[in-house]
Symmetry: C2
Subunit: 204 residues, 2 copies
DNA sequence: ACCTGAACACCGTTCAAGT
DNA sequence: ACCTGAACACCGTTCAAGT
């Protein structure tokens, strides 16, 4: 009953190594990945169907981590905000992954279950049924856009021209890097929720 | 004085063909591009330094098209909205370009001049100097996120599961495809501006 | 100055051959 | 069932050679 040769790979091992590679290099190359796993590149294809499938699986992993909005009796604005913060935090933990996710369109509805919860919260808040999907789109766009902002280096805001006085002063007075991205996200989220709140109270 | 052999390429021709290729195929392959131009692939490198430079130049072209916010006496919320609509429209004309732009971080501050105008409008509206950059980040994130939403196919919202009742009903009641993306963008933009307006009036 | 073909290093993926 | 090496088609880019 001598045991067979040791199993070298598993889906989870492939995904772990993929994420590590992306975090470290910002790219996902099958050769890199194979080396990281101590395995031939062709071996990987026995566990996943290819590079695109790996990225898609990482997307699913990411959404799975996000806490769904708490369905307790608390204020709906608080619930939505809480969910959005968790959403962005999950993205922010692997900023290099974000461009790979946006380069590839979602194949199956990975985060669909979370959206069901968000839909329920919005509905409960008084959002008309025809607008629920629209608001989910808005929140999703903002979360993803903010995440991309997080992945970008801060050099964008550095320049030496003297024809941009207001911008120059504003940049000097604003936080930098991760702090800027965090503060901006919080500000926009608050505005979005406030805007939705106003719309709901004035509309009904 | 026999004229030299005809000049086959120019930067503009390269950029035009690149955009056409991206619009048609969603990708930018140098071989495709060369064929489109009726030229050898290596010729292209006499006019641009490489693939990344082409994408960066296309980004600059895109921002150049966007109308800066009108600095007339009109309401600042209207000005910001007008600029955002133009921003997104420019992106929406070439949805396939968007993932390429997000995959590559901005090298130089291409749209910086427009940001100066936006900064001036925000400042004029009463946004404190330390928050101007934050609001620009918010607007930028939302415009880019909405554009990505536009580039994604609508299949994301199609599913056949019976454990998502609220979402299913919401999807049935919402517009589809481009119409959904457009309506969502307008809704979120209105909320953002309303939220900012509320913050300014309550803060001062 | 501009264009070319050949070559290079590097991709993701396939597949017959091994255990 | 799982892993391998070799091979394949395809990338972006370089460069000596032509005009």
């Amino acid at each position: 009953m001598a045991q067979r040769r040791k199993r070298l790979l598993s889906i989870d091992a492939v995904l772990d190594a993929s994420l590590a590679s992306i975090d470290a290099t910002g790219r996902l190359a099958m050769a890199d990945l194979a080396e990281r796993l101590g395995v031939s590149a062709s071996s990987i294809y026995h566990h996943v169907s290819g590079r695109a499938a790996i990225i898609e699986a990482l997307r699913e992993r990411l959404v799975a981590v996000i806490e769904p909005p708490p369905m307790d009796g608390s204020d709906w604005g608080e619930q939505i905000s809480r969910w959005m913060v968790g959403y962005r935090r999950a993205l922010a933990e692997h900023p290099n992954l974000i461009p790979l996710l946006t380069a590839q369109t979602m194949t199956d509805g990975s985060g669909l279950l979370a959206y069901e919860q968000v839909a329920a919260v919005l509905r409960h808040a008084g959002v008309p049924i025809g607008e629920v999907v629209l608001w989910i789109s808005v929140l999703d766009a903002y979360a993803l856009g903010s995440a991309l902002d997080l992945a970008a280096p801060d050099d964008v805001w550095r320049f030496d021209r003297d024809d941009l006085p207001v911008l120059a002063e504003a940049i000097g007075a604003a936080p930098v890097g991760r702090k800027r991205a965090d503060a901006a996200f919080a500000l926009g989220l608050e505005a979005l929720v406030a805007g939705l709140r106003r719309r709901l109270s004035s509309g009904s």
